[in-house]
Symmetry: C2
Subunit: 243 residues, 2 copies
Amino acid sequence: MLSIILVEPQLGRNIGSVARAMLNFGLTDLRLVKPRDGWPNPDASSTAAGADSILDNVKLYPSVQEATADLNRTFATTAREHDVIKRVHSPESAIKALYKGWVQEEKLGVLFGNERCGLTSESLSFCEALVKIPSNTNFPSLNLSHAVTIFAYEWRKCHHPCQGDILRTGHTKVAQKRDLMGLFEHLESELDRTSFLSHVEKRPAMVKNIRNMLQRAQLTEQEIRTFRGIITSLVGQRKNISK
Amino acid sequence: MLSIILVEPQLGRNIGSVARAMLNFGLTDLRLVKPRDGWPNPDASSTAAGADSILDNVKLYPSVQEATADLNRTFATTAREHDVIKRVHSPESAIKALYKGWVQEEKLGVLFGNERCGLTSESLSFCEALVKIPSNTNFPSLNLSHAVTIFAYEWRKCHHPCQGDILRTGHTKVAQKRDLMGLFEHLESELDRTSFLSHVEKRPAMVKNIRNMLQRAQLTEQEIRTFRGIITSLVGQRKNISK
C-alpha cells in the first residue's frame, strides 16, 4: 500500500483535488499532518468530485513522526535544493523503488509539503530519500494536487503496465495481405484504364508508392470493403460523366 | 513544439490550472476552442499561479479543424471507449511518438475535451490516434488540469531525461573504501574491548553483518569522521562511567 501524506496542507480545495487524483489511480490512504484549517474541511468535497471514500477515511496526525510510524519506507518530495546528504529520485525511479517494497509487503509513503514552502528539513529527516519532479527551473512550483497526480500516475503504471500504441479495431480486424493485394490490384487496374499509370517507366515506382502509402494505414477487413466501394463509386461516376 | 488544445473547456479555474501545469514543464502554446465562458476569463488567473505568459498568449479558435490546421500530428485524449478504428496510446507511448515528430520539426498537438463529456467523435476524426490515461475503472474521470499535467510531465521526461536515484553529497563525497575500513576496524577494536565480539565462533559473522549494514548507507568522508567521533564519544562515556 502506498500512502499519501500531506504535511500541514493549507487549502481544503487542494486536499479534495488530491483525493480525486488518488482515487483516479487506485490509491486510497490519505494522511494529513496538522492541516491548517482543521479537518474535516467542507472545501475539500467541492473538488473531490466524488472521491468521498478517500475524504471519509482520512487519517489525522499531529506530527510527521506519528504519520510515518507504521510505514517501512518513506520518500519526501521537494522542489528546493536541501543541503542534506540523501538519495534523490525522479518520480519514476522513486515509485519503482517503492513498488519493489510493495512486492515485499512493505508499507510505503510519499510526503508532500504545504503549498507555500514545501517540506522542512526536519520532515526530510524522517524519510530515506528525496524525490524531485523534473520541472522548468524558471517556474518549478507545482500545484499540490498536480504533484500527487504524477506519483499516483506512476504508481498505476507500475501496478498495471499497459501496452501503448495498439490499433483498436472493434468488431473487425486488420485485413489479411491477400485482401490488401485485392484492393491494390483493383485500384491499379482502374488507374491503368484512366491512364493515371500509363507512363511505362514510372509505373513500377508509382505502384510501389501507392502501396506503401496504403500499407501505413493498416486497413481492416471492413475498410478494405469500404475502399473498394469508393473506387467502384468513383469509376461509376466517371463512366456516367463520359456517357 | 507541443500544443495543448482544450476543446470547449468550461471552467476558467481549470484553464488557469492547465496553464500552470504547462509552464511547470516548459510547454507554452495553449489553444482554446470555443471556451464556454468566453475569453479572457478572470477566473483563470487565480489558479495560474503566475503562469500569465501562457494565458496572455492563448490562441482562440472557432473549431477543432481551425485549431489543428497548422499542426502535423494531433492526438486525442479520451476516457471513454469510442467505437472507432484508431490507434490507442498510453500517455507515455503517445508522447514518445510525438517526440519523434518534434525531432523531425513537426508541429504537434494533444486535444482534451471538456470537463463534462470529453471529446466528441467528430473531434476525434481530426486526430490520428487516441490516448487513454490508465486509471481506476470505477473512478476514471480526471480533472482536466490533472490530465494535462500527465502529458506535460511525460513531455518533460522525453526532453530532459534525468537520472533517478542519485546520492546527493553536497561538498563532501562518498568515502573511499580505505576510510570505511578504518571506521570498521576502529569500531571492531572497541567492540572487542567491551566483549561485544567476544564469541570466537560468532565473531566473523557478526563483523560481516555490521560491515554489510554500514556499507548500505554509502557513508561520505564527512560522515565517516562523524561516526568515528560518535564511537570515541561513547567509549569516553563508558570510561568515565567505569571510573
